[in-house]
Amino acid sequence: MSQLLILPVILPAALAGFIILFARNALAVQRAISGFGTLALLALAITLIQAPTQSYFLGNWPAPFGIALTLDGLSALMLLLTASLALIVLIHSIATGWDAQGRHFHALFLFQLMGLNGAFLTADAFNLFVFFEVLLIASYGLMVHGGGQARIRAGVQYVAFNLLGSTLFLFALATIYSTMGTLNMADLAQKLPLVGADDTGLIRVAAVLLMLVFAIKAALVPLQFWLPGTYANAPGPVAALFAVMTKVGAYALIRFGTLVFPGDLPALGGLLAGLLYPAALATIAVGAIGTLAAGALPRQIAFAAIGSMGTLLLAVSAFTPEAVSATLYYLIHSTLATAALFLIADLARTRRDGLTAALYMAAAIAMAGMPPLSGFVGKLLVLDALRSDPLAWTFILLASLLTMIGLARQGSDLFWKAPNTEAPAQSKAGVLLCLAALVALTLAAGPITGWLGQTAAALDAPEAYIAANRLGVAE
């Protein structure tokens, strides 16, 4: 049996353990270990993205009795995205010396990656909760990295709001377990259609509560309150890494919305899509208006990130293979674009020279969904997938406009009105790598969307995922 599936989780965990045990005062060693771990995760992700759908049974216990991991296209994609972003963020953190601003950056960073990877791989709802905890606590640690009053204050908001989500997650899981008697997602997918029509109330409660949990993570309106302060006050590279944190919520929504609670499940009757749709529209509006209102650059990017989550979830709410495929493309794009902007904002804090301005412009173009970068392609894909929905079009296009105006004003104020070339130049390697990834995403849009189309089709018909879990079959 291939052990590859578990490595994205235990490799960073063990490396972090190693750092704490042997290298907690040796920054150079920490950097080397972190770098090695991130590269290894990238290599693993590249290997896994070519692998067929498969499961891994922890402790050799058959599903649904033990915990199973299941790798499919979506999981592999998220692993790859996480690893790529991690590499970018790590390069930036090391190059700009952010990692030396407080204690335990690298251990927390690796634990964060472990949490993300674990969440993307698991096929067990409770285990998802566990990894939500891992990534929450690690991200909290990274968020307050370096200290400072504003940051710690914002950190309290972040952790408090997300603990509210964790509590709700537990309620939802309790509801699921005590009605369905199982927590394995494939098992749930098989059993839920068998629930009698006269006893669906609690299933619906569980579904809605779970969706709310994921909505908190995804910063869906009206549960977005934690995001602006958090992202704006987090250290630059950490905010960039957080670009993938909201995507965890989106991932979970897609996973549960396609596998466990698909639109054609009689017990739900389109309940989730019906709730998701108006919330996504509101999210787009809040994000775009916030981006226009601006203020400081990091806060503005945070709102732009909210807006892009709205667009993403609007596409998700359609739950058609076409829309999911568009969503996934947009998800990759939005993660990288947000990250790029946060890294640039970090550079622009001190030095605002011509090159930084050019990088800002490129990232802002991507974020606002202007050509020629992937934002435009993503936006076209989403619009095309929602082509019978003029309301969605209006929201998306108007949001694009407001975002563009907001970012243009910010850019002209920051780089044209108040340029600053006094401060020493900082390494732009991370930013350049991130933008290169965006360019690659744009140029290779054809093959990528082709692959995403297959992935979305597999999500729409999750037989392979369920089969991989070999439910009830002992080895």
Binding site: M1, Q3, I10, A13, A14, G17, F18, I20, L21, F57, G59, F65, A107, L108, F111, M114, N127, V130, F131, E133, G141, H145, G147, A160, F161, F171, A174, T179, G181, T182, L194, T200, G201, L202, R204, V208, L209, L212, P222, L223, F225, G229, A267, I289, L292, A293, G354, I365, M370, F376, K379, L380, L397, L401, S412, W416, A445, G446, T449, G453
Partner: protein, 923 residues
């Protein structure tokens, strides 16, 4: 492939200035010019084929699932525009080389210019309309950079943003319009779309698509009421104005109208919207131009007016009108680009562009005067120049169009056009020369040669229209209309009514207008005019202010509001989900309850309520919370969950210790902040949510699961499969050991986090000396306490080891054991202080956490050796006389990892907080 290469050449050229700037401006210019010239040559190479009526296409798949492909197309219309873009582009490059000051970032300028050129060329060469959109928005973006080139000037920044907002908004509308169009036509390639006229015009989406596309075209081509951005874009350096705002970018909207003319034109909607927009723009802008004093402003409004003229012609929907439109595009580009360059020359020579401060330059600048005369008279439509020809064609078409207001307005606009053109020429070059600060003189050839070439074209096309431009106009008009066009353009058709009469009337009228100018000017200056910029700024200001108010009102950083909204949504949506579907009643019978548990329950409730009510007195609230924990532990014991009870007891102790440490840093009472109404609201919400949770728990506990729960398997397999009697422990370390693996890491991270936080707070105002006002009576380290705790430590450890070892079969395990150890150590801290304890600590707590994670990981990985998945357990029974048979399980090793992690985490957190509580050195 060649077309894609042509489209790519300017972009490649845009990369070169960064590399070539060190060799000087001449080399840098020559290099980019080389790219433009190469593109031009490659285009020209296709001319014979185009003349033969062919359309050249290349196709590269980019995003076939969406229909966004890099498909290019070169036909007559594209040829006309490509020649303008590249030809005038070359002249602009030369002009700019001599125009811009040496102190300016010239390489950046060239890069922006080439980016723009590439985008513009891309628009006209695109076969795929989605690709066209890509280039379309890129022209908006690159022109944003060019307009804002002098970024230190507020006018430049504002102009750039205004242009971007307007044309960008139009572009977004166009995205929607073109997507609809492609959807109706069944494809996004022009080759597909142009053949679907009937289907498109019959579709219900025709009108929305048309409106959205027109919005895009009108904003780009500065048609009323979107004209306002163009005059403000004049903040750009003059070469930019000459290129973007006369010859190319503003023509992109017209290009699109012409490009889609075969499928969109010919309907009443098209006719009325497009012609009226064109006519209004044409006459209105010509009028404004008459009263402007800045040379570039006059030219800007003149451009708007001429763009209106072309729009009007395209709106008419006839073949002849379209031909006239195409011809005028060519003519206007030649004379207007020349005029902009000349305005720049005058500006350079006299350091002013205000027409009132100019005059009499004909002697000082004879070359400029000659060139300006040619271009201006062409703009006025005076024979034998090319402007005359195209204006005649326009008037001819207008004359044949009902209702009568159309020819009248067209004549009126022509009249104004003559008037402002003459004013431009006369006031600048004729009359008396004012006292110039520096004697003006003609510039070097580098500046006058580019407009001279254009002026030569103006004359040549005017004198020999068929030879010079006939072929191009035919090709372009054929491509526009989709039918073969053979235009007959001649300088002199004889005394042909009505166009000639209208033209004469225009000239005559213009002279009258100029004669009356002072009176008209006084009226104009006295009139109240809506200022487009002020309106735009006010609109933007309002939008931004509203957005800011909304955003700050919504995200004011209040945690309690976020919580309130969140809890309300949980409650509302949960209730909705529950009530909108049936639920069967529970089947489990309620258990009996006796006296003591009722008392305990009452105690629990009272303590919880009291803690809520008295939460402002923090120490008391903590004490009450302790009671809650105590009763909770007892309930676990009572309800036969000894594992939980053990854990809860130890957790409580550790929690209270940590909380007391944290209280060091807090005021002893919480300030009263909440007002009466909010208290009521929050209290109501809390009660509602609590009730909801209780109801959910009650509902769940009184029901059986619908499917056999997996716990049956755990109970059955605990001993045979996992080798332990205690199913709780086997679940924790084996069945769901992976969850535990995650959770111990959570604990470890939390401790690291507390450590890092306190570390960053050391030496800040948070790390104040603990508040001893509460009391510093008694001994800091009482001997009795010290002695007792020394005795308790080994006892606690023994209990811990015992709990750990038997964990697999009886209540206990690594988690509880770790906590019991920690309690023993905490006591030492309390009794003897942090310094004492730290001095006697051999193993750093960090190391314990790290070792715990590593031990747990290694145990899990150990099963790889047997080819089993992570955390597969193995167990055997050992005999070691005189002991009883005992069990050796890998799970116990994993449990050791848990133990280490828990112990390390608790102690690290405690130690970190204790360190922070110590009086700081130097304070």
């Amino acid at each position: 492939m060649s077309l894609a290469l042509i489209a790519a050449l300017p972009f490649l050229g845009a990369l070169t200035p960064a590399l070539t700037q060190r060799f000087g401006r001449g080399i840098a210019t020559a290099t980019v010019a080389l790219f433009s010239a190469a593109a031009l040559l490659l285009i020209l190479q296709h001319v014979p084929a185009i003349m033969a009526g062919q359309t050249i296409t290349t196709q590269i798949n980019w995003l076939p699932t969406l229909g966004l492909n890099a498909n290019f197309r070169l036909d007559g219309l594209a040829l006309l525009f490509a020649l303008l873009i590249l030809g005038i582009g070359l002249l602009i490059q030369i002009y700019a080389r001599f125009y811009l000051d040496t102190s300016e970032p010239y390489a950046r300028f060239l890069t922006y210019l080439m980016l723009f050129q590439g985008a513009m060329l891309g628009i006209v060469l695109s076969d795929n309309i989605l690709l066209l959109l890509v280039f379309w928005e890129m022209t908006s973006l690159s022109s944003f950079l060019l307009i804002g080139f002098w970024s230190h000037l507020p006018k430049a920044r504002q102009g750039a943003r205004m242009a971007l907002a307007t044309t960008g908004a139009g572009g977004l509308a166009m995205i929607a319009g073109l997507l609809m169009l492609g959807h109706v036509a069944g494809g996004y390639d022009l080759s597909t779309i142009l053949g679907e006229r009937a289907a498109i015009q019959a579709s219900p989406l025709y009108v929305p698509a048309l409106l959205l596309i027109l919005l895009g075209a009108f904003t780009k081509s500065a048609q009323f009421p979107f004209h306002y951005w163009l005059p403000h874009a004049m903040a750009a350096p003059t070469p930019v104005s000459a290129y973007l705002h006369s010859a190319t970018m503003v023509k992109a909207g017209l290009f699109l109208l012409a490009r889609l003319w075969p499928v969109l034109a010919g309907t009443p909607e098209w006719f009325w919207i497009v012609t009226s927009a064109g006519l209004i723009t044409m006459s209105f802008a010509a009028g404004v131009a008459l009263f402007k004093d800045d040379l570039k402003a006059i030219l800007a409004y003149s451009t708007v007016s001429h763009l209106g003229l072309i729009t009007f012609l395209l709106g008419l929907g006839t073949k002849a009108a379209a031909t006239a439109a195409v011809f005028h595009i060519l003519c206007h580009a030649t004379f207007k680009a020349a005029l902009f360059m000349l305005a720049g020359i005058v500006d350079h020579a006299t350091h002013t562009r205000d027409i009132r401060a100019l005059g009499g330059l004909r002697r000082a600048m004879p070359i400029s005067f000659a060139l300006a005369s040619i271009a201006t008279l062409s703009m006025a439509g005076i024979p034998p120049l090319n402007g005359f020809l195209s204006k005649e064609m326009m008037l001819e078409e207008a004359a044949h169009t009902a209702p009568w207001v159309i020819p009248v307005l067209a004549t009126f606009a022509a009249l104004l056009s003559v008037a402002y053109a003459l004013r431009f020429l006369v006031y600048t070059f004729l009359g008396q020369a004012p006292a110039y600060a520096h004697a003006p003189h003609d510039p070097g050839a580098g500046l006058w040669l580019p407009p001279a070439i254009l002026a030569a074209l103006v004359v040549a096309i005017g004198l020999a229209p068929m030879a010079m431009a006939g072929w191009l106009v035919d090709a372009a008009a054929s491509a526009t209309t989709g039918e073969a066009v053979h235009a007959h353009i001649a300088l002199w058709h004889g005394l042909q009514p009505p166009a000639l009469w209208m033209s004469l009337a225009a000239v005559g009228g213009a002279l009258v207008v100029l004669g009356l100018y002072p009176a008209l000017r006084a009226a104009w200056d006295g009139a109240h005019k809506p200022d487009a910029k002020a309106m735009f700024d006010a609109g933007m200001g309002w939008l931004t202010k509203t957005a800011t108010a909304l955003t700050q009102g919504l995200h004011n950083g209040s945690l309690s509001r976020g919580f309130a909204v969140g809890l309300c949504s949980f409650l509302a949506l949960g209730l909705y989900a529950y009530l909108s579907a049936p639920t069967l009643p529970g089947t489990r019978a309620l258990t009996q309850i006796s006296f003591a548990p009722v008392v305990a329950f009452g105690l629990l409730m009272t303590a919880a309520l009291a803690a809520t009510a008295l939460h402002r007195k923090r120490l008391l609230a903590l004490l009450l919370t302790g009671i809650v924990g105590l009763i909770l532990s007892a309930s676990f014991a009572y309800l036969s969950a000894p594992d939980l009870a053990l854990t809860q007891i130890t957790v409580e102790v550790v929690t209270i210790a940590l909380m007391l440490l944290a209280l060091n840093f807090l005021p002893k009472t919480t300030p009263r902040k909440t007002a009466g109404f909010r208290k009521l609201r929050d209290g109501g919400l809390a009660v509602a949510v609590g009730t909801g949770v209780a109801a959910l728990a009650y509902t769940l506990m009184t029901r059986e699961a619908m499917f056999p729960p997996i716990s049956a398997f755990h109970l059955a397999q605990s001993l045979p499969g996992a080798g332990g009697h205690n199913a709780v422990n086997t679940i924790i370390v084996d069945f769901r050991g992976y969850d535990t693996y995650g959770e111990i890491i959570v604990l470890g991270i939390a401790a690291l986090l507390i450590f890092a936080l306190t570390e960053s707070l050391l030496g800040t105002r948070w790390a104040v000396q603990p508040d001893h006002a509460a009391g510093d009576e008694g001994d800091a380290h009482p001997v009795m306490l010290q002695t007792a705790t020394r005795l308790i430590l080994p006892m606690a450890m023994l209990v811990g080891v015992y709990l750990f070892l038997r964990g697999h079969n009886e209540p206990g395990g690594g988690f509880v054991a770790g906590l019991v150890f920690a309690i023993g150590l905490v006591l030492q801290y309390i009794a003897s202080g942090q310094d004492w304890a730290a001095a006697r600590r051999r193993i750093p707590y960090h190391a314990m956490i790290g070792a715990g994670v590593l031990v747990a990981s290694a145990t899990g990985i150990g099963s790889f050796l047997a080819g089993r998945p992570f955390l597969t357990s193995n167990f055997t029974h050992g005999h070691l006389p005189p002991l009883k048979d005992f069990e050796l399980a890998t799970a116990a090793l994993f449990d050791l990892g848990v133990f280490l992690c828990v112990l390390g985490a608790v102690m690290l957190a405690l130690d970190a907080l204790a360190r922070l509580a110590k009086p700081q050195e130097g304070r």
